[in-house]
Symmetry: C2
Subunit: 313 residues, 2 copies
């Protein structure tokens, strides 16, 4: 099955406590598609400027990601994000954002894009997500969003969510969207907004998935070295959707394994800058980490040993 992702292809300048890199390939749609490409065909709709050169095309080409719908704007530059992380790698500090070509981005879908079976609406303006949604008839539409849209385009976002099957957001976004601090209650509210499933990304604490009748929780793969967390959430979504599309199923068991693959892909991504680690990732490595997550979460059934306490003893 084929996947369509609509979102940003960008250049990032990133500084972490472990090093820095200037103008490396980034963007939600890039991270998503590279991760998903391990499992499924992927087509990307986005926009870049003149600074997107052959060496950047190569990243997509070597992963056989279809970028024929990636729009090129002459005489302009691509979206650029500059940020840094302190020792608490959960918190990114944005130093500069230049939207450039992304400021006027209106996704243009080819016939092939419209025919996709699985669609991921990466974090862009909810109105644009909805425009894409209206042009496709896939089996599953997944979406991401961010605090900015929750705060400033809430009505628009709520309208978009009505057409989303699977919402993949982080914990702070879930609480803010639901206006509820308890995550279990927050999830219940969000499931009333449209999505049949909600996946909440919790960084080093793993991820949880909610549906009306099920709950699933996994820890993160235990990493001693987190180098650059940029793109972890989109890589997670890419692994998840890639596995779903490859399985072409959405039962609870498949969804659970999809989350594990998402988590595995994200765990690799944060080990190096940009998509460097994913570019040389092997299936053997993916299988190894899947097995490890299984191993670190298993335990045998048990009934509590009864201690007899009777009155008057």
């Amino acid at each position: 099955m084929s996947i369509l992702v609509v979102g940003s292809v960008a250049f990032d300048s990133v500084k972490t406590p472990f090093g820095e890199r200037e103008h490396i390939l980034g963007g939600a749609a890039m991270y998503f598609s590279v991760a998903a490409s391990f499992f499924s065909d992927v087509r990307l709709v986005g926009v870049v400027g003149d600074d997107f050169g052959p060496e950047h095309e190569a990243v997509f080409r070597e992963r056989k990601i279809d970028i024929s719908d990636l729009e090129r704007i002459k005489g302009q530059r691509s979206f650029h994000w500059k940020g840094e992380y302190g020792f608490d790698l959960n918190i990114a500090r944005t130093l500069d954002t230049q939207l450039n070509v992304f400021a006027d981005f209106r996704p243009k879908l080819s016939d092939a894009a419209r025919a996709a079976d699985y669609v991921f609406l990466a974090n862009i303006q909810p109105q644009l997500q909805r425009e894409v949604r209206q042009q496709v008839k896939p089996r599953i539409v997944a979406a991401d969003t961010m605090n900015y849209w929750i705060e400033n385009n809430r009505d628009d976002l709520l309208e978009t969510l009505k057409g989303v099957d699977l919402l993949i957001i982080n914990e702070a976004e879930a609480r803010e969207l639901a206006r509820e601090s308890n995550l279990i209650r927050a999830a219940r509210r969000i499931l009333l907004m449209g999505p049949a499933r909600l996946v909440v990304k919790r960084g080093e604490y793993g991820a949880v998935m909610f549906s009306e009748n099920s709950y699933f929780a996994i820890p993160a793969y235990p990493l001693e070295d987190v180098f650059d967390p940029t793109g972890a959430g989109d890589t997670f979504a890419g692994g998840l959707m890639g596995y779903l599309a490859a399985s072409n199923a959405s039962d609870e068991g498949t969804m659970r394994r999809a989350i594990i693959y998402g988590s595995v892909m994200a765990s690799f991504n944060v080990e190096e800058f940009g998509c460097d680690r994913l570019r040389r990732l092997t299936y053997e490595e993916i299988d190894q980490r899947f097995k490890t997550i299984k191993t670190i979460t298993q335990f045998a059934d048990s009934d509590a040993p009864r201690r007899s306490i009777s009155a008057g003893d």
Copy 2:
């Protein structure tokens, strides 16, 4: 097998967003022993004042907890803690601490106490924990501590840790003790300090356990209503140690199930003030939540579906 717990029996005045209670029975050793009593015989060493009356004794008596080593000091009052929680129930704000009889607490162990097979050194001064440790020869010694001792009695604490098999602390304490922000690295350092196993409590994110060759992670039981988190950590330790003592084993599988029981007991405890919920808890309820945690963490084995990408395709 019998358990000895040494620590505080106290009175707490607690305010949460959901209500408040004055002078209710609390203290680490109380929460621990009530939880552990579901699985094993428990003997408590601690100290209280005149304000510890028959109604408080009844809590221990109905759970068949042996308090014959609970010292009573005439003319003085018991340890009293006053605190409140905001909507972020992870953070307790201490409004008042009156050590009272606890200021001069020197644990006095009877012969029966010295003969215990499992010992839990609740959070008290590391020097006192060590004095207790030197008087017992149990199969397993577990201990808790807190930021105050890590910051102010570090050398003392490190000396105590040499005689501890199982350290049960929260995440911030683990990072501070190890002086390392990455938890996986922090755990590795702590395991070099003495304990063969480290259990890290993460509140709503569950718990993780480390040994030299193993790692285990579980999510918390999903709760929509957390009413009063006071004593959750000690209840967790009580369920854990209670199950270990009942099983009289410490292999990886037993340890994993012990953590689940700890987590289950803590999940009940936070549903009401003080130990109210535990006092009317049934084994059927415990078994139910154990099964639920199993259900929400299970997923099938899988190998990544391979997508063929060959050069030049």
